[in-house]
């Protein structure tokens, strides 16, 4: 069930009304579990079996790990205990990563193995499995993994309440595309009573509206030209490919951050607070800052559970760089079972270590500084980082590594094509789709810039009521109007 579907439009109010009609926390959690499984099973009921299996395995392993954790009351020491703890953690890792390996990476590993064998002059028999990639598997496996790892580390007491745990894993607003929540942050919210807060409901609805606007009006409008441009890069031409790449940068940003906003807003309707996932990443002044603003839940997950585990910055400079690049390579692989995603991750990793780091600590609530009109140096840095990120997005969006390389080559070698630029200008002046898209993006960037000191630009509860409601009405109008214009494209991150 997608957030922009009619089914969700019916599903959400029914679940919400039933939720607040139940006074007791336990019943509310049970309702959320049932609703979440209905939500997830709407794609394919078999996915629910997979998620339930993964959840139950980690639940029982968490319970088994609990008495063995460093902070437990039973202070058994010795290698036997350590061995058992590592065995249990290993089982959790094997189960979760095994699920990912089978459902997401099996084909990739087989293809890569066969390609390598062919390179060496050997042709082993092909093994193919017709497997559907379950929606959201990359997200909820990481979420359950964070639970067992935190229990292992003694940072979390395992819960004995299965319903609470299942609610934490399957909570439908963030189930299929994040934010990837930490158990230490989300699980306690299911273990406590939630209060009805009118302000929180209002805030949640505002964030949902903003998310819907980004997804339906901007991301879906950009999807068509982006798909057309990337479908045949050899005939598209350098200048148009540049434009299409920028469009993709905003398509993926509005699509994914829009989803996150809808997820966070929806969660607030139920009295649950999810973590912020995007903080105006395209106003970053360095790649380091970009990764503190883009898909924050994933980047912090990889920092805490991969980068730090493999050594972090505890060794020398070279080891730090190695650890960072490795982490980004794995992050790239998480995004998709294809070498172009690994390349994308690797490029970010290399640029992170190679480019100058910011001298001051990144101020997450002040992207681009405090000034309304940024300093020229700040503006140039933002443009440079955005350009670099766009170039890396080519690998993310292209159909293959070869296509990505072709696109970059065409862009680099056809910058002098004045005729192509002129054609684009004529297309803009003719008032066609390019005109509409350009103005839409300009307005969007300006609105984001003006609202960048808040979690999202629609956080305007203090504004005069007529102005606030006029803005809500206008945004709602655009969402409804654009939802009828052609087919809605699926959320990009559903494929991960």
């Amino acid at each position: 069930m997608s957030f922009t579907s009619i089914a969700f439009l019916v599903f959400l109010p029914v679940v919400w009304a039933a939720y607040w009609g139940l006074r007791r926390r336990e019943w509310q959690n049970l309702l959320l579990v049932c609703a979440s499984y209905v939500f997830y099973g709407w794609w394919d009921e078999r996915f629910c079996i997979l998620m339930l299996t993964s959840s139950l395995v980690d639940y029982w392993l968490g319970l088994a790990l609990g008495p063995l954790s460093p902070d437990s009351d039973r202070q058994e020491t010795g290698s036997a205990v350590s061995g058992r703890r590592r065995l249990l953690l290993g089982m959790s890792l094997a189960c979760n990563l095994g699920l990912l390996g089978v459902f997401k990476y099996f084909g990739f590993f087989v293809d890569s193995f066969q390609a390598s064998a062919a390179f060496l002059g050997w042709s082993p028999g092909g093994v193919t499995l017709e497997i559907i990639l379950p929606v959201g598997i990359s997200f909820y496996t990481f979420q359950t993994l964070s639970y067992t790892i935190d229990v292992y580390r003694g940072r979390l007491v395992p819960t004995r309440n299965l319903v609470d745990y299942l609610a934490f894993v399957s909570f439908f607003p963030q189930l299929v595309a994040g934010p990837i929540e930490r158990a230490s942050r989300l699980l306690p919210q299911f273990q406590q009573s939630r209060c009805w807060e009118r302000d929180a409901i209002g805030a949640g609805l505002r964030q949902m509206l903003w998310g819907l606007f980004k997804k339906v009006v901007i991301a879906d409008t950009l999807a068509g030209p982006v798909a057309a441009g990337f479908a045949s890069p050899e005939t598209t031409g350098g200048p148009r490919l540049m434009v299409v790449t920028v469009l993709f940068a905003y398509q993926i940003y509005c699509d994914f951050s829009g989803y996150s906003d809808i997820a966070i807003g929806t969660a607030r309707l139920f009295g649950i607070t999810l973590m912020r996932n995007f903080a105006y990443p395209y106003f970053s002044q360095s790649i380091v800052e970009f990764w503190q603003r883009w898909h924050i839940s994933l980047s912090t997950w990889f920092r805490d559970y991969v980068y730090i585990v493999i050594g972090g910055n505890r060794g020398g400079r070279v080891q730090t760089w190695r650890n960072a690049i490795l982490t980004f390579l794995v992050s790239g692989l998480w995004h998709g079972a294809a070498w172009r995603f690994v390349a994308w991750g690797g490029l970010h990793g290399v640029s992170l270590v190679a480019l100058p780091r910011p001298t001051a600590k990144v101020q997450i609530d002040q992207p681009g500084g405090a000034r309304l009109v940024p300093h020229l140096a700040v503006l140039l840095r933002m443009i440079l980082v955005f350009s670099l990120v766009c170039a890396f997005w080519v690998f993310f969006r292209a159909n293959s590594l070869a296509d990505a390389w072709l696109i970059l080559t065409v862009m680099a070698t056809q910058l002098h094509d004045v005729q192509a630029f002129r054609e684009l200008l004529l297309e803009y002046q003719a008032g066609g789709p390019l005109f509409e898209i350009t103005h839409l993006l300009i307005v969007f960037v300006v609105v984001e810039w003006l609202g960048r000191h808040k979690a999202h630009p629609l956080e305007i509860p203090g504004w005069p009521q007529p102005v606030r409601w006029s803005i809500y009405a206008a945004l709602g109008w655009f969402v409804v109007e654009y939802s009828g214009r052609g087919e809605s494209s699926p959320f990009i991150y559903f494929q991960f």
Partner: protein, 378 residues
């Protein structure tokens, strides 16, 4: 809450509502892709175009800009002169959007081509009057004949009955379009179902001045259609092909028969010849589309492409009304009967209203059938 505080809150909310409506109206006028409605409803003819229009509109179905001119009576035709010139035969053609044909330039639509072919065949002047309006039902067409068309002294009336929509449009059980309809009273007589005066007046005012009013109607209709399609993939109107008659459809056929009998009675009294032509839906012509309907209808249904034409033919025979089904000529013109075959397409985008070839084919078929049948009234 003290009175002043309450008054202030109320005033604030009134200002808010006014601002919101203003913003919505502005957004609709500036950015909406939903075309402005050109139809208005009244009690004289039930439904007509806005009068004396002269504009160009982008039509999404034909993907082009089409001129739309209407006369002072609110129909897509030249100005009509009340007194019929001598030696001219007048034919009033009633129908819905297939006859109004907003997607096609006027000189290429069925009505204009029919006039051309009849003049060629009969060798005398023929004036074909276009009373087609989108969403018009047979009941409305009866009212339009009675209150308007009859005053122009036609020699013949042709009712173009769209098998895919006119039956459901006639019935208040099958369609919730707020259009003028009829029902069969307890005495067996047809009686109109009146829309209340205030609702009519309010609707007319909003229709005329508010683009947002049009827009929200369009959006709500689209939403309800999508919702219904999610629950029941086969649209209600497409159940017209189900030979296992739903009682509501049975009653709709009875009502349609009654309306056509009344039409025959009134036109006969006026000395006007009445004809009925079945306008086929694309699904009746293309096997691939009808197969999809059969799949959506399920095993419990008995879908037959010719079922509505057969029912209509029986009704017309009983009422003594000459009837022509265009399904035959259309199927002959598209022998592959596959909507994906571009060279044989007779409908816009293979599925909607007639394209220019469809209009031409329909006009030829009707003129060949009518040739010699239309008398001249003294």
């Amino acid at each position: 809450m003290p009175l002043t505080q309450r008054a202030r809150t109320t005033a604030e909310w009134l200002v808010t509502v006014a601002c919101v409506l203003l913003v919505l109206e502005t957004c609709t006028r500036m950015f909406s892709s939903v075309p402005e409605s050109v139809i208005e409803r009244d009690e004289v003819v039930g439904v007509r175009f806005k009068r004396s229009l002269d504009r160009h509109r982008y039509d999404a179905e034909s993907d082009r800009v089409v001129p739309l001119q209407t006369n002072s009576q609110g129909f897509r035709d030249d100005e009509w002169i009340r007194s019929k010139p001598s030696g001219v035969r007048r034919i009033a053609v009633f129908g819905d959007s297939f006859i109004a044909a907003n997607a096609i330039p006027r000189q290429k639509i069925l009505v204009s081509r029919l006039e051309h072919h009849l003049e060629r065949l009969d060798g005398s002047r023929v004036e074909v009057m276009n009373f087609g309006v989108g969403g018009s039902s047979t009941g409305q067409q009866l009212v339009a004949y009675r209150n308007l068309a009859s005053k122009f002294n036609p020699d013949a009336v042709i009712i173009c009955f769209g098998t895919s929509s006119d039956l459901t449009d006639n019935s208040e059980e099958l369609s919730n379009n707020p259009i003028l309809r009829c029902r069969i009273g307890d005495d067996g007589e047809l009686e109109p179902i009146e829309v209340t005066a205030s609702r009519r007046r309010g609707s007319q005012i909003l229709n005329r001045y508010s683009r947002f009013y049009d827009w929200q109607k369009f959006i709500i209709n689209r939403f309800v259609k999508r919702l219904r399609r999610g629950v029941q993939p086969l649209e209600l109107r497409q159940r017209v092909y189900d030979a296992n008659l739903d009682p509501r459809f049975q009653r709709a056929w009875q009502l349609t028969a009654r309306i056509l009998e009344q039409f025959q009675a009134e036109t006969s009294q006026d000395g006007v010849a009445l004809f009925v032509v079945s306008i086929p839906d694309a699904a009746q012509i293309h096997r691939d589309q009808f197969a999809r309907l059969e799949e959506q209808a399920g095993a419990a249904s008995r879908m037959e492409a010719d079922f509505p034409d057969t029912r209509l033919a029986t009704i017309c025979e009983r009422a003594g009304i000459p009837h022509l089904s265009l399904s035959g000529p259309f199927r002959s013109a598209a022998p592959d009967r596959d909507s994906r075959s571009l060279s044989q397409r007779l409908f816009l985008k293979g599925a909607g209203h007639f394209n220019e070839a469809g209009h031409e084919l329909a006009a030829e078929a009707i003129s060949d059938w009518l040739h010699g049948l239309v008398p001249t009234k003294p």
